[in-house]
Subunit: 359 residues, 4 copies
């Protein structure tokens, strides 16, 4: 028996991986299958038709990479950009920071906008930078929709407005890892060129699918993008899409069936109802934090996240101890404070297949 | 209900993904967990201590990438080599061909040795090439241990002997995707620098883990390897190994517990007993093929594979039809012939957690 | 790890419990539920509407007892008969013998017709007995449809004809444990008054449901049946059926969902197709036995069972040793010879969710 | 998809069936097995050695009936008593009432002591009755340890003292359905002759095992007990115990493995720690009820139950509506008020594998 075993279920309230609903566990409780026999292509075809819906896109092309969010980031960048291309990106927490780190290591020229952790994208800085970029050297604007480290949700519509105001042709690449299927995400309306998420977040699956959706403009960009890529190459997928076999290499059979069920659950409830539920539970969490007399790490209401709340604790307490004690004493999993806010905040994840009492 | 559903179980005899044993399905039937809470690092630590054993290595450093064999290939190459580095590799079937294709696209300078499909590495050609390479421009020799498309097992010990005879310092990178845990694989003894496999093969897990093991020499090579890499970078893992948190990004909790059970099953039976079982079942399969009056695609006994048998069928029959009919009429999954042998062979996978009657 | 664990799946070919299909395992992989909340009554209502179909009855009333076949026997007897009531029954193997033993212990007056093991009901003896019973002292005729110990299937239609010819009012109680959902069973057409089966047989579920179906005449008989009964009392069920809550005590939530899926699979394939499949696999088994040069325990073709074949082995071999060796050496489970045929036969079960290759 | 499906898990707080821990679900996620092959007897042997421990008995003989608590009641009565035997029993809620109803229908002569619902056994009445029974016509005293309908726990030690004071030889039969493995139960110390429980209560399994433990005195009583019984007969089990095959009819393989894991979890935590945990959570629940300004149905602290709390609500509210709304609006399952307290109380189950946060 597991040495960590304790009575009762673990209360999993980290902002990912999140609780898996029973129907998804059931769907995944299966043997492997030959992915070249008819069922897997038929299943995949339907998944590919449905996945863009979670991004509210009718024109996007989806890719289901056997990878994590980090891999999905890499796929978004290498398929659309060439080494030394200039990117504007915003650092406002651990995850935006890690994506920026990846961009640098992949040899892009990143113009990092440093934001105080707990704040979101400064639209005026973006406007200034884009206006200054007369030669359109900036090839992409990369933004984390919901910064999981601080509980900040950025206003993507407003960013799109700034880009449009500046008539700037840069691609708009968005990390929707902790927002898609939980916080409203309108890929087409907001002109997002690459949107991505991970299976273990609001989709409430195990880790293992990096889900990427590419706009027609992004697909066009692949034709000139010189970044080396093989495992993460969209073109290999597109080639197999045309063949009707769909997979350039072996997918996880279990995750495909799990994704089918996860999407069915979301569509059954209605995506907008799912989003409204997250809004309700997010607000409830913030009210609880307020009632405890604690502060939200997110500085302004406009950035409040409906999927994660970073709770600032008094300076004489180490938040790491709170997380440890919650786990050890109550079998309750909370998120640590990361990097600049380590020890200062703990995080409550309130995303995925939850309700008022199981939460 | 699934439109493809038929009575009885599907008989899965493709050479991967293979049948999952019940204890592994049980271990994977679980909710997500916080991978930063104590159980996951404790579990990972033990996995990392045990994984090198399946490669028969005491000095190798293992990496458990959330990816497929294709990703493991990419990780092996980009962590040890720099763009334009010269590689000698052998094309003898669809999988060796795909790896070579990856090498080229990752901008390596590949010296491809074309072997007839159904044959293995020509040691004399290798010797000639290495002897000719006085300046040691060849940085790596890449070999697929067991070519899954043709059922050819290469003699890695003999390749190492050639390399040693030539006193050549090239790295020796080996794809053990369809051999490790089924066909004897002696990483340390044979001086393999990077060995890799995938979870859905002889380990009998779902797809989703690209398992890589690096020799000290390979780890040393990363220091100068200039290929761009982030998701597949060993250094990120090594950094987290030191921290004792182990994961640079979110792993699949389910696959980790599944791998634990898969390894337990292998160690319980004894790795050499597992290998002997594959040898027995491989021989039995070949005897059956002979009894049917059909020919093995593999041209010489020395290359016979104990994990997959490619059966050559008479020219007036299309093997694709056999595979289709087996699936449709008998719920029996066989492997297609691929590329050069498409239509000419069908393949029987006999690897993983099998026995004489369930097979 | 289980000390009995061996590689590969156990090949389960006993005549029950039988292999469980994956969709059923998935459906049963769930938490408990409050059986008084709306889903369980709704589920039960639909199950009760569907269960009579497997008996080919439109007028029968079904009961799903949390018990085994032995409990279902007890329920059939005690709900329709009073102590000292006379029963005619046929002993032709271990299971008919055990039912008769139960009848005696429940204080019924059993007129046992002893048949040679390997033969079925002697219709002429039945006719003679019924004709002689001018006073209608015989209250019930009890017959095992398919004697699992010998692989004998009785002709229920012919028995009904005899009863009708004699214009005898006795109830006709039938054990369909190893026939229902595999061998044609026409409750209404054959005037069966109580039919029963167990979940672990052709329904391919775990053990735990004793499924009973009562004709209107059987229900009428309960009004005067004086046998003591509480747990197995139909009236308690009927009371809760009327209330719409359906359960006098707690059912197994998991088995109800499992039964739902098991029935869905049967209806999807078509009950008559399921029966035809069993006929095909039964014939195939008998041909194999013949090819091995062995004899079927069943003496005449008219009694051949499509769900179980008892194979007579040469007298110098102990069939128990064959069964032991099959299990130990091949992880293959065969049925032992029981009682009078112990050591003389082994049994192959070929019932449930099987096909030509998984069999 | 289930029409009742809602996001998040159902919060199951009825007093049974209760939440199943993940390790138990995993252990039960398995195919059927031949129960005559070596693993099942080996498993059973160990279970039978361990089951008496949950009753704190070293001399008791356990029986694992494939049935529910109602069947376990029947087994306890029919194996130890003869028709018309006199029983003293206490009616103090729906479950004691149902057991008494069963006793009457099984033709025993029940002397029912009616207690106000919300109170426990009146020891003085018992003393008076036993003292008056000079001829020892009373053959059994039957008591529900924890009345699940009202949340009353009776003092079994005190009852035993009264019996001993009167030097009365009657058997002491106890329903421990909602107490065993949660509330201290000392079979040997308290001279309980038959103790019983059900798998779906504090053991946290699915419904399907009626677990009975018989003292040597109870076993002795079977020799003269004339009640008819077959399915529930202990002697059939004892016969198979001696043979080492253990089962007179087919058990549920899944429940046996589940029980193994359930016991392992209890022994790992320590039975007394499990009991202390229930005490802590019981007290916490009562404090919550008090804080809500509501009354406990249980009239005196000495009877407070640590597994279920029946909460009395103001007379102008129908408790059935509360339970309905909790289910519909919050996916929260609470227990209804039953019979005399229908509409007046709702019940919170706090038994099984729970902790402070998952509760």
């Amino acid at each position: 028996m597991d040495p960590f075993y304790g009575p009762g279920r673990n209360q999993l309230f980290v902002p990912g991986p999140v609780n898996i609903p029973e129907p998804v566990l059931q769907a995944m409780n299966r043997n492997n299958e030959d992915y070249r026999a008819p069922p897997v292509p038929a299943l995949t075809k339907k998944l590919l038709a449905d996945v863009p819906k979670i991004f509210k896109s009718t024109t996007g092309t989806p890719f289901l990479f056997p990878t994590t969010g980090t891999g999905a980031w890499e796929s978004a960048l290498t398929n659309t950009l060439s080494p030394r291309d200039r990117i504007i990106s915003f650092e406002m927490g651990q995850f935006s920071l890690l994506w920026i780190d990846q961009m640098k290591r992949l040899n892009f020229d990143v113009d990092v906008v440093h934001c105080e952790w707990g704040t979101g994208v400064d639209l005026e800085i973006l406007r200034t930078k884009l206006e200054a970029d007369k030669e359109h050297k900036v090839k992409a604007i990369c933004c984390v929709h919901n910064e999981t480290a601080t509980g900040v949700t950025n206003n993507l519509a407003a960013i799109r407005t700034v880009i449009d105001d500046c008539m700037h042709p840069a691609l708009f690449l968005v990390d929707g890892v902790s927002s898609v299927c939980a916080i409203d995400f309108r890929m087409d309306e907001w002109g997002v060129d690459v949107a991505l998420t991970g299976s273990q977040k609001a989709l409430s699956l195990p880790t293992g699918l990096g889900i990427v959706c590419a706009s027609p403009k992004a697909l066009e960009a692949t034709k000139t993008a010189k970044s080396l890529r093989v495992f993460f190459d969209w073109n290999d997928y597109l080639k197999f899409y045309k063949l009707g076999t769909y997979w350039p290499y072996t997918p996880s059979i279990q995750l495909l069936y799990g994704l089918r069920t996860a999407l069915d659950l979301i569509f059954l409830e209605g995506l907008d109802n799912v989003i409204a539920r997250h809004s309700r539970l997010g607000r409830a969490t913030r009210l609880a934090v307020e009632a405890w007399g604690l502060k939200n790490c997110t500085q302004r209401e406009e950035w409040y996240s409906d999927t994660v709340t970073a709770v600032v604790i008094p300076p004489y307490i180490d938040s790491t101890e709170i997380v440890k004690r919650a786990w050890k004493r109550y079998n309750l999993s909370l998120g640590l404070g990361l990097n600049k806010v380590a020890g200062k905040v703990f995080r409550i994840g309130h995303l995925g297949n939850l309700n008022e009492t199981f939460y």
